[in-house]
């Protein structure tokens, strides 16, 4: 069952079809919420977003992709939450314990690489909010420019310019270590 079939059946009230759609996008939705700042409340945000998405499904444009439409609702819910808490949205993710695959027989090189990843992540965390959102959507969530524009509700030109500025700032931050 592809997205369109699942949506068509959900619109007819078939909750099993909608369950399938939720299961399919659950991981991505959690990732989006966490990376846009929902923190430990990402689960609540995602559940709320899926409930809202179902209720608003009749207004979904069937010939456009479901993924950015859904992620925009997730982004909205996340934004509402961070505003409600009166706090700056933060990138709430951790570096995984997985070793760097490029250097299995070179522990020293692996340690340097891990250190560099940690520093890059910190640099992303420290970006101004909008640049960080752009970088997160483009590279961590691997959305296209058009999808990013839809999810964040920005003109595509702003996506381009903020991504560009964010990358420039990151280059500046990590330049020393690159040597």
């Amino acid at each position: 069952m592809n997205d369109d079939e699942a949506i068509a059946r959900s619109l007819e009230g078939d909750l099993s079809a909608y369950e399938a759609l939720v299961a399919r996008y659950s991981a991505l939705a959690h990732r989006t919420a966490a990376m846009l700042g929902a923190g430990d409340e990402a689960e609540d945000v995602v559940q709320e977003a899926f409930v809202k998405a179902f209720r608003h499904l009749p207004s979904f444009h069937r010939d456009s992709p479901f993924r950015p439409w859904l992620l925009r609702i997730v982004a909205n819910e996340t934004h509402n939450l961070t505003r409600a808490r009166g706090r700056r949205s933060e990138l709430s993710v951790r570096l995984g314990a997985t070793a760097v695959a490029t250097a299995p027989d070179d522990p020293e090189g692996a340690a340097v690489a891990t250190d560099r990843r940690a520093r890059l992540l910190e640099a992303v965390r420290g970006l101004p909010e909008r640049e960080r959102q752009a970088v997160v959507c483009r590279y961590f969530l691997q959305l296209s420019e058009a999808e990013t524009a839809q999810v964040l509700g920005w003109p595509i030109g702003s996506v381009k310019s903020r991504t560009h500025r964010g990358l420039a700032r990151l280059r500046e931050e990590v330049r020393d270590e690159l040597g």
Binding site: E19, V22, R31, Q47, F54, S59, R117, L152, W154, T163
Partner: protein, 245 residues
């Protein structure tokens, strides 16, 4: 193609970094089941609409009054009120005093007239109309297509706003405070009385005061915010909203 010195290294590195970021998430089936359970739960409003609604908005009115009284002093509290009443594309700002009226009306950024029959061809989002009315007398599109406005004789105005993450319009309100009302199955807000209407310019959030707005109904569907201004009563506004297609 982002930098002269190191074209793709950083971008590739960021993509690789994404793969090693841990984001805890419950099993997808569990999320799906929880969402389904919530969708299957009976919605009380549907059972006894009349009574239920009255009780509910009385509660909201009390909450709003209390919160406003408590929060006049604290920025955090004020923030909480904003959040409660925030809707796609519109932000209501409550204050304890009647706000100063906007003296000089201004138009929306980039507002230009468009023949009403051409609205359907706009690409940014699907423009709807109020089918209970004749086709609009005139229409405008503003700010790169983010706001579409339709006008009917007698001061009736209908705005559709591609809401996105940040609000677009803001309203400064003093008493009487807005009341909530069910509009097409979602909670909307009826803002009685004249109030200053402004507009938040993205990306920096600059506030542009627009004009004094008449009584307005606001609600949202998906990420589109709707505001209907100038209906004779809340009931009439809700009825017109029901014909949105």
């Amino acid at each position: 193609m982002s930098s002269a010195e190191r074209p793709d290294d950083l971008e590739a590195e960021l993509r690789a970094l994404a793969g090693s970021l841990d984001v805890p998430a419950p099993p997808p089936e569990q999320v799906a089941a929880a969402v389904r359970a919530r969708l299957e739960a009976p919605q009380p409003e549907a059972v006894r609409p009349q009574r239920r609604r009255r009780v509910r908005w009385k509660v909201v009115a009390v909450v709003v009054a209390v919160v406003v009284a408590v929060t006049a002093a604290t920025p955090q509290g004020r923030q909480a009120v904003l959040t409660i009443l925030r809707s796609a594309g519109v932000e209501l700002r409550l204050g304890s005093d009647t706000p100063t009226p906007v003296a000089t009306p201004t138009v929306l950024p980039g507002e230009h007239v468009v023949p009403p029959e051409e609205l359907a061809t706009l690409q940014r989002f699907r423009v709807k109309t109020l089918t209970a009315l004749h086709p609009p007398q005139s229409a405008t599109v503003s700010d790169s297509g983010r706001v579409v406005s339709m006008f009917w004789p007698g001061g009736l105005r209908f705005d559709q706003v591609d809401g996105g993450v940040s609000p677009y319009f803001f309203k400064r309100l003093g008493p009487p405070y807005p009341q909530d009302v069910t509009v097409n199955g979602v909670t909307g807000w009826w803002v009685p009385g004249e109030h200053p209407l402004g507009y938040l310019e993205r990306p920096d959030g600059t506030e542009v005061p627009l004009r004094q707005a008449g009584p307005t109904l606001i609600w949202e569907a998906g990420t589109i915010g709707y505001r209907l201004e100038g209906a004779a009563s809340m009931e009439r506004a809700v009825e017109l909203a029901g014909s949105l297609r």
